[in-house]
């Protein structure tokens, strides 16, 4: 992909994201709560969490190497445990959890190299 294509994608994604945040402000709050609005709200609210799960599954699948499962699985499990540990040590801080997971993954990878 060229830099030109990256810029176009960035502009489109950025403008779209801004409009998603901006247009509801323009339309202001609607007090009416129809069954249709409720369904739409629930579906939209679920898309974020579902996306996180889907991304986790896809990104983990991308890390697996079928030809060397044990050398890829062990660091992955260690890294996920590191995230859990980091979350506890960081009292729920996502950044600390992520960094701890990466650090443990790196240690496990280094020990297998």
């Amino acid at each position: 992909m060229s830099n030109y294509q990256f810029v176009i994608i960035t502009v489109l994604a950025g403008v779209g994201t801004f409009l998603i945040r901006f247009l509801p402000l323009l339309l202001k709050e609607r007090k009416t709560s129809t069954p249709y609005n409720r369904l739409l709200h629930q579906a939209l609210a679920a898309i974020g969490p579902a996306a996180i799960v889907a991304l986790l599954v896809v990104s983990l699948a991308g890390e697996l190497r079928p030809d060397s499962l044990h050398t890829t699985l062990l660091p992955i499990f260690a890294g996920l445990l590191g995230v859990v540990l980091g979350r506890k040590l960081g009292k729920g801080n996502i950044a600390i959890a992520t960094l701890m997971g990466i650090a443990v993954y790196a240690l496990a990878t280094a020990s297998l190299l």
Binding site: M1, G14, K28, L39, A43
Partner: protein, 230 residues
């Protein structure tokens, strides 16, 4: 009054910045790992400014996803923000706005939304707008600045360490797992389970970027099904 309120907002954005900076640096590092030019990586953060969907963006680029699908997935990912604006305006309870609505929308991320909803009540009404603008500005600056550090200085770090180079592949799974742990208590298990199964099954037959969409839609359908059965 407006100026001091802005600086109070800037001060209160420090807690958000503490979370943003390391993740933004990781984002910059992960992006240049894919051989994307540093200035393009910074442009992602300047114009899109939506952490999770920026990580998705580079994941989709790595999967060589087509142009239209990348943009559509990012929009779909950020659709949850539709409900943030009206909720923030309502919580602010202002008599009169001083700044255009565009200023209210530009930095409305998940974390800014949560912080604003939680802390508006502690600000006197005349200070709220300036405070909110300061909060947004601080969070935005930390995200863009962190990205620039990762993008411009990351190449040196990567060149020095093969383990770091390999470990960057785990940045995305670690972040998504941390986010999952964060939301797991508040989201019905049925939604998470539906998304997991749908994505896993879709991966057997479909490209990964389509599997992501399948998982997201499965979560949405699961939520609607739950509402209909209530």
């Amino acid at each position: 009054m407006g100026g001091s309120a802005f600086f109070y907002g800037l001060r209160d954005s420090l807690s958000i910045a503490l979370g943003y900076v390391p993740v933004a640096i990781s984002f910059g590092l992960a992006a240049i790992h894919l051989d994307i030019a540093p200035w393009i990586v910074v442009l992602f953060s300047v114009l899109i400014y939506a952490g999770a969907s920026q990580f998705i963006l580079i994941a989709l680029i790595a999967q060589q996803t087509d142009f239209i699908s990348i943009v559509a997935i990012i929009w779909l990912m950020n659709l949850r923000h539709v409900f943030y604006g009206p909720a923030v305006l309502k919580a602010a309870a202002l008599d009169k706005r001083r700044y255009p609505l565009a200023f209210w929308a530009a930095g409305l991320t998940d974390e800014v939304f949560a912080a604003a909803i939680g802390r508006f009540a502690h600000q006197p009404i005349p200070y709220r707008e300036g405070w909110y603008i300061g909060l947004q500005f601080g969070a935005y600056s930390s995200w863009v600045g962190g990205t620039a550090v990762g993008a411009y200085f990351g190449a040196d770090w990567l060149g020095r360490s093969a383990v770091l180079d390999q470990s960057l592949g785990f940045v995305l799974p670690a972040l998504f797992f941390a986010l999952l742990l964060e939301i797991a208590q508040a989201v019905p298990r049925f939604i998470l389970f539906s998304a997991t199964v749908a994505t896993g099954l879709a991966l057997f037959w479909l490209p990964s970027y389509v599997a992501i969409i399948v998982g997201m839609l499965a979560g949405g359908v699961a939520a609607v099904t739950m509402v209909k059965h209530e």
